[in-house]
């Protein structure tokens, strides 16, 4: 239906967005790629020289890379597992007839709006601190040794904090999806004598699959680049125990000023994110078809 004129106009109106996103993505990415082949340190400007794949060799054989690679996987996987299982449970619970559902919803949703630096610092100091934290007080009260969270289980502590931030999001999306479930289907299943478990497996879960896909996709995008929570709690430590790829590259480039090495790390992170993205885009692409 569109005329030639409106087609041209449409192209013109797309232009700024596309150009800006291209510039934002392609130009710096090419620069990162270029830097990654240089011996380039901000402390010794002017002495850049081409060193081929040496930066990649150093980065990929560095034990810190393996540590942070697995930490990244654990962080993303752990948070996804907790938020999706917890989110499904919460969504089913909030879908029941309960008194004051609106207030419950507001409370559940609240952590999502708390900025990462605030939630990390509140958990680190007021809840998880081994001396003055509430968890330590509670442990002493019931007569067990308080856990020094960020010294003993740094990565798990960060997983807990980040899960707290993202659980509301998963719960809200899944709740919205459950509420669009066809009630007659459930009633029919009731009449056929289906138990709650088989109703869950055969009716609720298939209906939720699209929403779960969306949650996984969106959370993964954000979780791959977790940064503030690590910066203000453990600074990646002890050792590399809670360093993820984002944080490792940040320390290498902006704390050690090793532009070449940091850039090689950046390219590696982009490749890893792309591998994840390809899987996820296929999923959401399929969902867009329906």
């Amino acid at each position: 239906m569109a005329t030639m004129q409106s087609r041209n106009l449409a192209r013109m109106m797309l232009f700024p967005s596309v150009v800006l996103l291209l510039a934002w993505m392609i130009v710096p990415l090419c620069m990162t790629l270029y830097f990654s082949f240089l011996d380039y340190n901000l402390l010794t400007p002017g002495s850049e020289e081409f060193i081929g794949f040496l930066n990649y060799e150093f980065f990929l054989t560095d034990p810190a890379f393996f540590a942070s690679f697995f930490n990244t996987l654990l962080l993303v996987g752990g948070v996804l597992l907790i938020t999706i299982c917890g989110g499904i449970g919460l969504a089913i619970l909030l879908d029941q007839a309960i008194w004051g559902r609106n207030y419950v919803r507001i409370m559940v949703l609240a952590p999502f709006f708390v900025m990462p630096t605030v939630s990390a610092l509140v958990w680190k100091n007021m809840l998880m601190n081994p001396v003055n934290g509430l968890f330590a007080h509670f442990a002493i009260w019931i007569g067990v040794e308080p856990v020094d969270f960020f010294a003993q289980v740094p990565l798990l502590s960060i997983i807990i904090i980040v899960s707290w931030q993202w659980l509301p999001f998963a719960a809200l999306i899944l709740l919205t999806s459950i509420q669009s479930l066809d009630r007659e289907q459930l009633e029919a299943a009731d009449l056929d004598g289906a138990g709650p478990f088989s109703k869950f497996i055969y009716i609720v879960m298939p209906h939720l699959s699209r929403a779960i896909t969306a949650v996984i996709l969106i959370e993964t995008i954000f979780l791959l680049s977790i940064f503030a929570e690590i910066l203000v709690t453990t600074s990646g430590g002890p050792g590399y125990a809670s360093t993820n790829l984002t944080y490792l590259i940040y320390t290498q480039s902006l704390l050690q000023f090793d532009v070449g090495g940091g850039s090689a790390g950046g390219i590696v992170a982009v490749i890893i994110a792309n591998i994840v993205a390809i899987f996820l885009m296929r999923l959401i692409g399929k969902n867009l078809e329906d």
């Binding site: 952590p111 709006f113 990462p116 919205t176």
Partner: protein
């Protein structure tokens, strides 16, 4: 008997839901309460939920000792500025994708989404160096630009899903009546899509307010928004729980209230229309 049973299950579910949601909300409630305690009470081994000497001292301390309002203003400028600028760029793009669809539209949408998946560390160094060379480091302008670009794909996607719901016929009718494209957009589309545009704006303000990668890396004292200001509490001196709580409350309350109002739109926006 049946009535009785469903009442019983309602009581159980209500108790369970309030218990769990209370636990989820507890850290925020605790922060709010601690912000009204004295520092000594804040670390007390026998903490009291409500029975303590309420004080506003922490708030006045935070306001007196740090340029809190500067940081607050920076957050406002960066989040609202980038969201408005983003709308200006995203509305025309979403219009063309929603109403003048071609074979490439879907690919273009997917590509925009994929830019969101690029890890920021992949472009960290060039952006940092460009900011340094153009003297944009630690400026509000620099952060407005970055936040606009970071959230642009989400804005285009959200607006696209809203525009798609506006019946084509209305726009075509206006064109039949001799509206130019500009008139069509300003007088027909925008009023119809106003709720969608408002919630896009709201969600992006929230996202930009809470963004904590670029804001931490690209700012120092001048342009630091509240995210970066709060991060300065990570190396504390002496007793500071109550003051940390007061500063935290002041940083999160505006956005918490905005967020509660926009919870329905949030689902659609953040799920890219996959869940409605």
């Amino acid at each position: 008997m049946a009535m009785n049973n469903s009442n019983k299950s309602k009581i159980i579910y209500t108790a369970l839901a309030w218990g769990i949601s209370g636990m989820i909300f507890f850290p925020i409630l605790w922060t709010l309460l601690t912000s009204f305690k004295t520092e000594a009470e804040a670390i007390s081994a026998n903490p009291s939920l409500f029975m303590f000497d309420w004080t506003l001292e922490n708030y006045s301390d935070v306001l007196a000792r740090s340029p809190y309002f500067n940081h607050f203003w920076n957050s406002v400028v960066i989040s609202i500025g980038s969201s408005l600028l983003g709308l200006v760029i995203a509305i025309p793009a979403a219009w063309s994708m929603a109403f003048v669809q071609t074979k490439r539209t879907k690919h273009l949408l997917m590509w925009m989404l994929s830019t969101k998946m690029l890890p920021p560390v992949g472009v960290l160094i060039p952006i940092y160096l460009m900011f340094r060379d153009f003297s944009l480091l630690d400026t509000k302008l620099g952060l407005v630009i970055v936040m606009t670009l970071v959230n642009l794909p989400i804005m285009v996607w959200m607006l696209y899903t809203y525009f798609r719901e506006i019946p084509h016929e209305i726009l075509e009718a206006s064109r039949m009546d001799g509206c130019s494209i500009a008139e069509e957009i300003f007088h027909v589309l925008l009023p119809l899509a106003l709720p969608g545009i408002a919630s896009t704006l709201l969600l992006n303000v929230i996202l930009a307010w809470n963004e904590a990668f670029w804001t931490l890396i690209l700012t120092a004292a001048n342009a630091a928004p509240l995210t970066a200001f709060i991060a300065s509490y990570s190396s504390p001196e002496g007793l500071f729980y109550a003051k940390l709580s007061a500063a935290s409350v002041m940083a999160i309350v505006p956005i918490l209230i905005l967020g509660w109002f926009s919870q329905k739109q949030l689902v659609r926006g953040l799920s890219f229309g996959a869940v409605k």
